[in-house]
Amino acid sequence: MRFSILRKPLIHGDKSLAQVTNDVARPLEAGPTTLWWSAFIISVAVLILGVVAVTYEIMTGIGTWGLNKTVGWAFDITNFVFWVGIGHAGTLISAILFLFRQRWRTSINRSAEAMTIIAVMCAGIFPLIHLGRPWLFFWIAPYPNLRGSLWVNFRSPLLWDFFAISTYFTISLVFWYIGLIPDMATLRDRARSKIKKVVYRLMSFGWNGSTRTWQRYEVVYLLLAALATPLVLSVHSIVSMDFATSVIPGWHSTIFPPYFVAGAVFSGFAMVLTLMIIARKVLRYEEYITIDHIEKMCKIVLVTGGIVALSYGIEMFMAWYSVNEYERFVFINRALGPYAWAFWIMVACNVAIPQLLWIKKLRRSLVTVFIISIFINIGMWFERFVIIVTSLHRDFLPSSWVMYKPTIIEIATLAGSFGLFFTLFLLFARFIPFIAMGEVKGVLNYGRNTKKSVSLSTKTD
């Protein structure tokens, strides 16, 4: 392959193949740092808080949440949609960018995908614990049973959700794991302790690095990427149908599927940015996850943020244009009603603040990008809160209008989901190569002077 010398290298620091291996394996082989331990302990503590809250909720009743006769969902489904959305960036990076031959993805795809899987785990908890009788969750699955001829309701978007999320999780996990196999083999080869050797051997499925293995690997990877690509679009489309197919003004909207997908990618990339900016610093991966990577992701954030902003506008326009009094009211109520603060947080975080990324200087400033990414995370959580709560709390019959206020149990549950997320992510960073060595090695040449270049072979050393 020949690359234009005009292109900038994707990986800085003139890395050799061995250096890449060393760099990536270093944090795994060295013992955990104090920083890691402190982060881990905090995360686990928050996770335990969440576990206590959820246990209490399951033992006592959904009444321990602030829900009421009119607002039947609030934090639970907000968190669910938020986490599912976070997951989207990983799959987009690993699958869609792969298909589009965006080779810069190699530095971030492993961690982004790990983030996806963990985020989907976090998301998956909420539909379970939000049930009034969570111990009967399996009734949502269509399986042959002895309860007469009881079957599930295939018209219910919640059922579609069940399929969509479980499929998404399965494919993401498989896809991520397949990509992990060559790296596992590398680690196996480098492992000194016996236990590590055994574990990595088991995990690398007998990888031998032969050309045939590589060829099969690449085919499988491509096929899985092709399989995962529609899922990126379908999962959040289906999640959005929980709302879109209902009759509640503010929910009942055909724009929801694309709007939700764009929002998911938007929030997912923001989360990737948040994590990468920390990780590259802590793990000393600045040469792998370069400022160019950050900038590229910022551009995706800008695009998807633009779609989200446009969707907000279109929703507002449609509410006005539809001449539907209920629809109109919901949107006026969002902007001016008692939850206006949440709406304006959402607009500020998702529409206003990301516009700063148009400025090149800012999107190449790590601090700025980090802060912006945090704002987007907050804004996207509020987006779901606004959609769910403001639509429900004042729907058709004014007699049933109410206000919703979360309880400490709900807040602890939300915190706990972050605890779970960071706990798992920290474990991931400790035990699994944060960067896909095998893939990064393939792009070492990119943008380099070929004379100076290392072998184009992607073979592991």
């Binding site: 959904i62 009788r133 919640l158 309880t407």
Partner: protein, 1007 residues
């Protein structure tokens, strides 16, 4: 001895004969070789061929089997003990017993439904001449108080349990010692047999009297009639005959005299079916917003002083118009009042002479005399109100009560018997009463709870619940009501009659006393010619009997008695007039131990579990009050701190507080509700629910008036009200668009006469993707609710609660907007906040044929029946709450916690036809599917098709206004089919194409 030794006993002929065969059998009595199925003999012969392996297998299997068997809780089999079962009583079948309601003195006819020997539901008796099948919330909730675990079960002496035997010897002997000055203080006793018994008991003492008083008194009406008509009586009001109704502060649809009877009559007089429709004109003058005021065609806000002035002015105008010269009205010069109001009232009354009715809710004799004068001058006596055949529902005399109190204070009362009253709580000067009764040597209280009076008395005689008793009731002249027990006594209780009879040394069973009274006094007045047994059976069976009425000999109207009312409650610069009223359900506090009634939202304010100070929006703004801001209300002598409630339509100078709160024993409710981390008890300490407002009442002449003048002080604290509705209009807030929605539709009578569809023209094209996508072949159940008839009285809410085992959730849960009522009454205001009009709209599951809830349930826990009912399957529900979110009417109710507690005595009230719902499960109105099934089964049993009206839903049957009609819309002859075709019929959110089967009929106002 010898003989005995020789005597030989034998067991059978075989033994006696001692045949060889017998000997062989006898020797071999316990044979070794009994066959053990197909277990090889080697198993038993010592040479065990069972291997260790198979032994362990067998042992393991037995252990596992035993463990498995013990994993399942053994089914508890409950037998129904019916040692003396009537021969035709079938377990699991409902039996209905006609009786008379004792929820208040109005004495409506009821039918008590019993299942397996326990009453579980009270409904109206359709044949009853007064209530005509209607029943209020209180009446229906009475069944819960039967199973109240706090009822006094045994006689008490100084707070300690004792026995009737001890009381039966102690009380008479103590009375004999005293010998004189024995008084019986009761609420109005509508039972003639009890009254006779009390009189007989008291006749033995030279100085004795039976004093009747009512906490919320109608004494002034009776006294005024004594002065103007010569007889102390309460007229029977006939709202159905009145074309013009003018009410000064009388909440006759809510809690005044006989609300069910009046609601029936009122809605009868507002019938749109005729041509032209006859619909009475109702004008209400009041300071607070009462339920009656909320239904008025015109409502005028007045202070108590203004209403006195307007009434006087109306009387003067009518006197002038009729040319009657009343000196009292002549002398006073006209005062400055709203002339337009006076003219309107006078004009309308004069147009409807003999067909008008003016009532006044103030217990002020002077005012009532004026009312009598006006009704007399208009010729209403004998037409819209009857003194010749009066009502006996209330006959308390405040004057007699004051007299008794004086005697008590003077130490001239030796023995005091208190029954059906709680003077230590509900007298304005209760502390004086408590002090005075301490000087009374014997105080005996007949009570069902350890209430305030019971606490202070030496002897407490626990009384039967009305559903456990025989009783009679003369409600009005010519109507004799009968009460029969529906369950054996649950405690060691007696009726007042029984006690008195025992203390007179007769000790007759209660039934005998009642039967004897009926035989001697009532039977001779019978209208037919039945034998006594037939008469008795018929009376008990029907729950009432019509008897020969005796015409009251009233004198001709004494104009001289009419005087202009004197001083009134003028409000100063900072002072406010206080109106005390009875909240529907709680009334004067007699039902304060009934949690259903505490959780019943007030029909107007929608507040549960508390009383509060209602203030007008302008006053709230002036004082900086919000809903729930705690205010100190003080009249100088007494003060309470209560949360404020901002009431549109209230007079700016009037504040209102409900009576009947702060009762002893209600502290048990202050922690009611699920206990969890954020649970907020309604009071920090165990305090009663609400505050007692009776001390604000004051004596005016010979009557206790429930009006005072108070000052308000803001305390700065906040105590959130437990509201079930927080947005009060169908108009969205002004800053959010301000558009009006079309949940409720209304028109004026004139518009309606011109165009029956007026007010109902909000139309939106509704297109169907498929015509007849589902055809309902058999029944297609539907309901229509006539908003013109519905008064908002909330009887249906309790009816539904009793029928469908709806849980009580407590104040904290209501504050969190989690009440469980399957039917709610939405109340919307319209117009300016100072002068609002009100509309009440009952809302339950609308049973949409295109139900949004059904589509979204992932587990098919809510599905549509072939008869158009939206069904909820509790044990399939996993609790996603998606259905509730997607319900446009927000009628679905979720079990946030386990609201039911096992092992409570109160659970005996549960309807066995309905499961109680566990936590995590959605529930909602089922259109009383159990009643539909029961009616279908009954029709099938009788081999006939189901007729229209066979099925009456719980809400429908209770409605005193007959506003709810249920039926099969596939049956073109049914009432419901006709209503659906009616131009007034509409469905909520029709344009959304949910196809609800519950519809509404527009409200027609006579304005």
């Amino acid at each position: 001895m010898v003989n005995r030794q020789n005597k030989k006993y034998w067991k059978g002929l075989d033994e006696r004969e001692n045949s060889p065969q017998f000997q062989r059998v006898a020797e071999n009595e316990f044979p070794e070789s009994l066959p053990f199925g197909d277990v090889p003999d080697s198993f038993f012969d010592g040479k065990m061929s069972v291997s260790r392996r198979s032994f362990l297998k067998a042992a393991g299997f037995s252990v596992a089997g035993a463990v498995l068997a013990s994993c399942n809780r053994a089914p508890v089999e409950k037998a129904i003990p019916l040692a003396h079962a009537p021969k035709d009583l079938v377990a699991g079948t409902s039996y209905w017993y006609a009786s008379t309601c004792a929820g208040c003195q109005a004495g409506c006819g009821i039918l008590a439904k019993t299942r397996d020997g326990r009453p579980i539901k009270i409904e109206g008796n359709p044949q009853h001449p007064l209530s005509k099948g209607g029943i209020c919330a209180v009446g229906q909730a009475m069944v819960l108080s039967l199973y109240d675990s706090r009822r006094v079960q045994k006689p008490l002496r100084r707070g300690k349990s004792t026995s009737w035997r001890e009381l039966d010897s102690e009380v008479p002997s103590r009375l004999d010692e005293l010998g004189d000055d024995v008084y019986v203080l009761t609420g109005t006793i509508t039972s003639p047999s009890t009254r006779a018994m009390i009189n007989r008991f008291l006749n033995r003492f030279p100085h004795s009297a039976h004093v009747e008083y009512d906490a919320v008194s109608y004494s002034a009406i009776l006294d005024a009639h004594e002065q103007t008509h010569g007889l102390r009586l309460l007229p029977r009001y006939r709202f159905d005959r009145a074309d013009v109704i003018v009410s000064f502060n009388a909440d006759f649809l809510g809690a005044w005299i006989s609300p069910v009877e009046f609601t029936k009559d009122y809605t009868t007089g507002r019938n749109l079916a005729g041509n032209p429709p006859r619909i009475s004109y109702h004008l209400q003058l009041e300071g607070r917003m009462s339920l009656t005021g909320s239904n008025a065609d015109r409502r005028v806000k007045v202070t108590p002083a203004q209403s006195t002035e307007i009434l006087t002015e109306v009387a003067r105008n009518i006197a002038m118009a009729k040319g009657v010269d009343v000196p009292a009205l002549r002398s006073k010069s006209p005062v400055a009042v709203d002339a337009e109001v006076v003219e309107d009232i006078t004009g309308r009354l004069l147009q409807a002479e003999g067909k008008s009715l003016l009532v006044c809710g103030r217990n002020d004799v002077a005012l009532q005399r004026l009312v009598n004068f006006i009704n007399h001058a208009l010729g209403n006596y004998g037409k819209t109100l009857d003194v010749a055949y009066p009502s006996y529902q209330w006959r308390g005399s405040d004057r007699a009560l004051f007299g008794l109190l004086e005697k008590m204070k003077a130490g001239r009362v030796k023995a005091l018997f208190v029954a059906g009253a709680n003077p230590a709580y509900n007298l304005p000067n209760a502390t004086e009463f408590i002090e005075a009764q301490q000087g009374v040597p014997i105080v005996v209280t007949f009570a069902d709870h350890r209430d305030e009076t019971a606490t202070w008395s030496e002897f407490v005689c626990p009384v039967n619940h009305p559903l456990e008793s025989w009783n009679d009731a003369e409600i009005c002249e010519g109507v004799f009501g009968m009460t029969q027990p529906t369950v054996p006594l649950l405690g060691d209780t007696r009726t007042v009659r029984e006690c008195l009879s025992a203390w007179m040394g007769e000790k007759k069973p209660d039934r005998e006393i009642v039967e004897e009274y009926v035989r001697k006094i009532v039977f001779p007045r019978q209208l037919g010619s039945l034998s006594f047994q037939e008469f008795w059976d018929k009376t008990v069976h029907d729950g009432f009997v019509g008897v020969q009425p005796r015409k009251a000999q009233v004198s001709s109207f004494r104009f001289g008695a009419v005087t202009a009312p004197d001083e009134d409650f003028l409000t100063g610069e900072k002072g406010y007039a206080l109106e005390l009223y009875q909240k529907i359900g709680i009334l004067d506090g007699r039902h304060a131990s009934n949690p259903w009634l505490h959780e019943l939202p007030d029909p107007v304010t929608k507040v549960t579990w508390d009383n509060y100070v209602s203030v007008s929006p302008a006053l709230a703004r002036k004082m900086g009050l919000e809903e729930g801001s705690v205010v100190e209300v003080s009249d100088g002598a007494y003060s309470v701190e209560l949360p404020a409630q901002v009431q549109p339509g209230q007079h700016d100078k009037v504040v209102a507080i409900a009576l009947g709160y702060g009762c002893k024993g209600t502290d048990r409710f202050s922690r009611l509700g699920p206990d969890w981390i954020e649970h907020v008890a309604s009071e920090e300490k165990l305090l009663p629910i609400g505050k007692n407002a009776f001390p604000f009442a004051r004596r005016k002449g010979d009557a206790t008036v429930l009006v005072g003048s108070v000052r308000l002080t803001k305390t700065g604290r906040v105590s959130p009200l437990a509201l079930t509705q927080t947005h009060n209009t169908v108009t969205v807030p002004e800053n959010l668009g301000g558009e009006a929605r079309h949940m409720v539709r209304e028109a004026t009578l004139n518009e309606y006469i011109k165009n029956p569809r007026s007010g109902n023209t909000y139309e939106h094209p509704v297109l169907q993707l498929w015509d007849n996508d589902y055809v309902y072949e058999g029944h297609h159940w539907a309901m229509a609710i006539d908003l013109s008839r519905c008064t908002g009285c909330s009887a249906c809410v309790i009816g539904c609660q009793a029928e469908n085992n709806v849980a009580v959730v407590g104040k904290d849960e209501v504050r969190r907007r989690r009440e469980m009522h399957w039917i709610r009454i939405d109340r919307y205001y319209s117009g300016e906040e100072s002068d609002v009009t009100v509309i009440h709209q009952p809302v339950m599951c609308q049973h949409c044929d295109h139900a949004p809830c059904e589509r979204v349930c992932p587990v098919l826990a809510t599905v549509h029946s072939e008869e158009g009912i939206n069904q909820q399957i509790y044990n399939r529900c996993v609790g996603t709450r998606y259905c509730a979110n997607n319900c446009p009417y927000k009628v679905r109710r979720f079990n946030w916690f386990d609201y039911w507690e096992q092992g409570r005595k109160e659970n005996l009230v549960l309807n066995p036809d309905i499961a109680t719902r566990t936590r995590g499960v959605m529930e909602k109105c089922s259109l009383c599917v159990q009643r539909i099934q029961e009616a279908k089964a009954e029709a099938r049993r009788q081999g006939r098709p189901l007729a229209d009206g066979d099925i009456k839903l719980a809400c429908e049957q209770s409605c005193p206004a007959d506003a709810i009609v249920f039926g099969d819309m596939n049956d073109s002859k049914s009432r419901i089919a006709k209503l659906i075709a009616h131009p007034r019929h509409y469905r909520m959110l029709e344009e959304m194409n949910f196809l609800p089967t519950v519809g509404y009929l527009t409200k027609i106002r006579n304005t």
